[in-house]
């Protein structure tokens, strides 16, 4: 089931081919900034094929992290208006191709300890060039 943030999580122009793999721009599916320690990518599949989450990279605030590092990053905040970037290393795709993305991202809002906020977004996205176009 979609929630209010499903459409925000994956933008229509968020899938990009980048050196070394694919990149997906994502937005925080919540109304306030949260530390990365409460952000978890639960599942990601491309065209029905699961991508192991341990292979994912996560970029925010000009820094790169491995997905497995997020739980310890209590002091690194995802500002509510900013895009983060999920990196999928080794997955190639040509600009202009369509791919089905299915992403579930869980948040554990740290002031509501009982709540797991699961947001799932499924979209068919066209692969865009990296920002600034291909050189």
């Amino acid at each position: 089931m979609d929630n209010k943030f499903s459409a925000l999580l994956l933008s229509d122009t968020g899938l990009r081919s980048a050196p070394g793999g694919l990149a997906i721009n994502i937005r925080l599916p919540w109304y306030r900034s949260l530390p990365l320690s409460v952000v978890e990518v639960v599942s990601l599949s491309i065209d029905g094929r699961a991508v192991p989450t341990e292979a994912l990279g996560f970029e925010i605030n000009g820094k790169s992290f491995r997905h497995s590092e997020l739980a310890d990053l209590t002091g690194e905040f995802w500002f509510v208006l900013d895009d983060a970037v999920l990196r999928i290393p080794g997955r190639e795709a040509a600009v202009g191709e369509q791919h089905d993305i299915d992403l579930q991202l869980n948040l554990y809002p740290p002031y509501i300890p009982q709540l797991t906020w699961a947001t799932r977004a499924k979209k068919s996205l066209r692969v865009e060039a990296i920002q600034g176009g291909r050189r």
Binding site: D2, L34, F79, V80, P110
Partner: protein, 340 residues
């Protein structure tokens, strides 16, 4: 002999920028544009922000941002009413901060409130009363009132609230108070919200189960446990359980008159609302009963219109807040005109 004049309202209306979550997250309005629109539509004079939503880098506040924000308040003739701060006690998943850690986490947020000119900070019940006791010397020094939001699902008799009332009785400090949220004085669940959940694919039997538990007897904890037991038995999808858990956390029933028992300690109010019926009344929260309670109780602070319909609607928060202010003016009219 003439009848005594009715008590006039001593409180002022205002708005929290949380009401404009749709406009803000979709990057249609930046912070200054939200503030300017609040002023233009006369949705003040009180202005409330959420530190972690509206201030980049919060709780760090640069001198430049503080000067800019104070300049906006002057220029747009708004009054900073309350800064919402957060008790992120579970910042490390699966563990909770102790009281000293929680106080240390709040400290820079309270300093940020003072730097921006807010007289009140909204804390959260998930932090123990001891946390505010530890922060009291700082609040006194900065002249900032602190108080937890009394939010659904908790009633005034819930143990977490009673613990605060006992602390306040002991400390008797003017810097400690409460912030009622009218979501904890709900009459029912908003019909628009239930329609939305069904439209999103919520199984009708699970929704009926949850609504039945919500309106039924029992305390919050037993209702939550019963809901989770039945959702697990139905093998509900995690996104469905998320949506229904939130429903229990945002609205709960309580007699509007209950607020009288803490009225002298009320330092700010969240006039939470979702939608309106054809006559302009709120569809789930009884403003016709609630507002007179705050007039008669001689409440003297700000009341922030807080639209949370954006949880399920893409509609304009500005139109929603305009309707709430119109409803409030209608309900308060008999009190503002001099009685014979």
């Amino acid at each position: 002999m003439t009848a005594p004049a009715r008590q006039r309202p001593l409180f002022q209306l205002g708005t929290t920028l949380f009401s404009f979550t749709n406009e803000y997250l979709h990057r249609e309005y930046n912070l200054e544009q939200l503030i300017a629109r609040v002023a233009e539509l006369k949705l003040g004079p009180g202005l409330e922000l959420i530190g972690f939503s509206h201030v980049r880098g919060f709780p760090t506040v640069s001198d430049e941002f503080a000067a800019q924000f104070r300049g906006w308040m002057d220029h747009y003739q708004l009054q900073p009413s309350c800064l919402a701060v957060n008790a992120d006690v579970a910042i490390r998943r699966g563990t909770l901060m102790n009281d000293e850690q929680a106080a240390a986490y709040f400290e820079p947020q309270i300093r940020a409130a003072a730097k921006l000119g807010f007289p009140v900070v909204r804390t959260q019940l998930v932090a123990n009363p001891k946390v505010l006791e530890l922060l009291l010397p700082l609040a006194e020094r900065l002249q900032i009132k602190m108080g937890p939001e009394l939010h659904a699902p908790w009633s005034l008799e819930a143990p977490v609230v009673v613990a605060y009332r006992e602390l306040y009785e002991r400390l008797k400090s003017p810097w400690l108070g409460f912030i009622p949220d009218f979501g904890s004085s709900a009459r029912t669940l908003p019909p628009d919200y239930l329609h939305y959940l069904l439209h999103q694919g919520m199984p009708r039997n699970l929704l009926d189960t949850a609504v039945g538990i919500w309106g039924g007897p029992g305390d919050v904890q037993s209702k939550r446990e019963e809901f989770h037991r039945r959702a697990a038995a139905a093998q509900a999808d995690p996104t469905v359980i998320s949506a229904l858990s939130v429903m229990f956390a945002i609205l709960s029933p309580q007699d509007p008159k209950a607020w009288l028992s803490i009225m002298p300690q009320v330092i700010h109010v969240h006039a939470k609302f979702y939608g309106f019926d054809a006559s302009g009344s709120e569809s789930a929260i009884p403003y016709e009963q609630l507002l007179p309670v705050f007039v008669e109780g001689k409440y003297q602070g700000y009341m922030s219109a807080e639209w949370e319909g954006h949880m399920y609607s893409q509609a304009s928060g500005f139109e929603a807040v305009q309707k709430l202010h119109a409803l409030a003016r209608r309900v308060l009219a008999p009190y503002t005109t001099a009685a014979a």
